[in-house]
């Protein structure tokens, strides 16, 4: 009986958490798409500054990671393809894996580590030092002031980073192709482009937008629910990272299933 009650409690808590995320996302969407027409202008300057943090400053580490991932993918696929004398298909395997799955996923994970945690820490610290309360007493909505620019930055930058990550992954694969599979750089890139359909790229980009929304919602919600004390900021940050990774994988699964079963892509 106790086990059933515990499971029931966990399910209720999980649903409440998802509800809070949806509510936060909904309010941020309101301030992004409806607010500007109701005299609540978008904070573009803050959004641009966030976009620099989320996007531009993530480029070096993301480039390095996805280049290596592309190289690893090429090595792993070559291990199997070599048996069938089909080493020339390495470019296809890398391009499709990167654009449909690994590009968006690895980008999301890098962004969670860099920005999702930073969102939770920043807002959590502001909560502890009463800055969030100060915003409210000044009749400034913390969602409008803090969360919306982050949403905007993330929705714009995550697809851009994903395109960059896809390219770097393909470049990583090309290194193997040129060194081991008799490709030239040009031929490898051409083979990758030939292997890809537009839908491979668009499904990845749609997922990356959803990942961006998830990461921002979790980071900001964890920050806003920080309790009193500096130690709580650490806890919120850790929770933000763990929950974001988990929910990004869940969102990935849901959308991959949706694309597979509904539209057959």
């Amino acid at each position: 009986m106790q086990v059933v009650s515990q499971i029931g409690g966990s399910v209720t808590n999980s649903l409440a958490y998802v509800g809070s995320l949806a509510s936060l996302g909904g309010r941020a969407a309101y301030y992004t798409f409806v607010g500007p027409f109701q005299g609540k202008p978008l904070r573009l300057q803050r959004a641009v500054s966030q976009a620099m943090d989320v996007g531009v400053r993530a480029l070096p580490i993301l480039s390095l990671i996805t280049f290596f991932i592309g190289l690893i993918l090429a090595l792993q696929s070559a291990y199997e393809l070599r048996k069938f004398g089909a080493l020339n298909l390495v470019a296809t395997a890398v391009a499709i894996s990167m654009t449909r799955e690994l590009g968006p996923l690895i980008t999301a994970i890098v962004v969670i580590g860099r920005s999702g945690s930073a969102f939770a820490a920043e807002i959590g610290t502001m909560k502890v030092t009463e800055e969030i309360d100060a915003l409210e007493t000044m009749a400034i909505s913390p969602i409008h002031f803090l969360v919306t620019p982050k949403f905007l930055a993330m929705i714009v930058m995550l697809p851009c980073l994903t395109i960059w990550a896809n390219s770097m992954g393909i470049l990583g694969g090309a290194l193997f192709g040129v060194a081991q599979a008799d490709f030239t750089w040009g031929r490898y890139i051409q083979a990758s482009i030939d292997a890809l359909f537009l839908r491979d790229i668009t499904t990845g980009l749609i997922k990356s937008v959803m990942f961006g929304i998830t990461i921002t919602a979790v980071g900001c919600l964890e920050g806003l629910s920080t309790g009193a004390g500096a130690e709580q900021v650490g806890r919120s940050t850790t929770r933000a990272v763990v929950m974001s990774i988990f929910l990004v994988v869940v969102v990935d699964l849901v959308f991959t299933m949706l694309f597979f079963f509904v539209s057959g892509v």
Partner: protein, 291 residues
């Protein structure tokens, strides 16, 4: 020599003052606030008049900070009414609450300045958010506000470059930005040395004198409270123990008021302290015996 017209003018100003002072700016009626199952405030009733400085006194955990947070709309009451300028903030929409908030200012205990903005940007924030003033006008206004709190020339400093007292002054400047009618202070002199704390008290007195603002101060610093207050309310365990002008409070014979004002420890704590003292003396005696 005072002329007849001066006397008449003085009388009129006095009458005006009577009229203005009798206007209730804040009225609390059976205010109850709970955190979950636990009730923190058990039916608080009092009024604050226009231009009055009301000091809310109370020990740690007495509920005074919860009361202040409820007054500025950061906590929702479980029941009761909070009338601010004729509107019950416990029963109004978010939009109406925001309109009231534009007429109040709040200075938080730690200042709550935004660390990523300069002092000037902090002070200008409410003006940029709620007015359509030109940048040049906002610039003039923020300098004026900083001058009022004795921080002229500090607009380009970051909050992290300011001392504790300066942070509190900057927070007051931000609270003053929208020319509020009611100003709330949470522990204005907490964590400050006596000289800086006296400076903050002086600032509160000057604001009252210059703008005839209604000021609510939550504190447990007695010297500061008696200096700035017109009236005081002592809260203990979520109930009002005493309320009245500071002179009445000072001469009160009520045991709980006397205990708070005379800084007498709780009997249990006093007994524990005696016990500790006895233990240390015992150990001292044994130590000297061995030697």
């Amino acid at each position: 020599m005072i002329g007849a017209s001066d006397v008449a003018g003085e009388r009129m100003r006095e009458e005006d003052r009577e009229v203005v002072d009798s206007e209730k700016m804040i009225s609390l009626r059976d205010l109850r606030v709970s955190y979950g199952e636990r009730e923190i405030l058990h039916g608080i009733n009092f009024d604050v008049m226009r231009g009055e400085t009301m000091v809310i006194l109370g020990g740690s955990g007495s509920g005074k900070s919860t009361l202040l947070r409820t007054l500025v709309g950061l906590e929702r009451p479980s029941s009761g009414q909070i009338w601010i300028k004729g509107q019950d903030i416990a029963a109004i929409s978010q939009g109406e609450m925001d309109e009231i908030r534009k007429k109040i200012g709040m200075s938080f205990q730690g200042g709550a300045l935004f660390g990523s903005m300069t002092v000037g940007e902090n002070v200008a924030l409410p003006l940029r958010e709620h007015t359509r003033l030109e940048d040049s006008t906002i610039e003039i206004m923020l300098r004026l506000k900083l001058e009022q709190v004795g921080l002229a020339g500090f607009e380009y400093y970051m909050p992290s470059q300011l001392s504790g007292g300066m942070k509190k002054r900057a927070a007051v400047a931000r609270a003053l930005a929208m020319d509020p009618e009611i100003l709330f202070f949470d522990e204005p002199s907490a964590g400050l040395d006596p000289i800086i704390a006296a400076g903050i008290d002086q600032l509160i007195l000057e604001l009252k004198k210059a703008f005839r603002m209604t000021i609510i101060v939550v504190t447990h610093e007695l010297a500061s409270a008696f200096l700035i207050a017109d009236r005081m309310v002592l809260i203990d365990k979520g109930n009002i123990v005493a309320i009245g002008p500071k002179e009445e409070m000072r001469s009160s014979t009520q045991p709980r008021v006397r205990q708070f004002l005379d800084r007498v420890a709780e009997p249990e704590i006093a007994r524990e302290l005696d016990y500790l003292q006895m233990l240390t003396q015992e150990r001292g005696r044994r130590g000297s015996g061995v030697a």
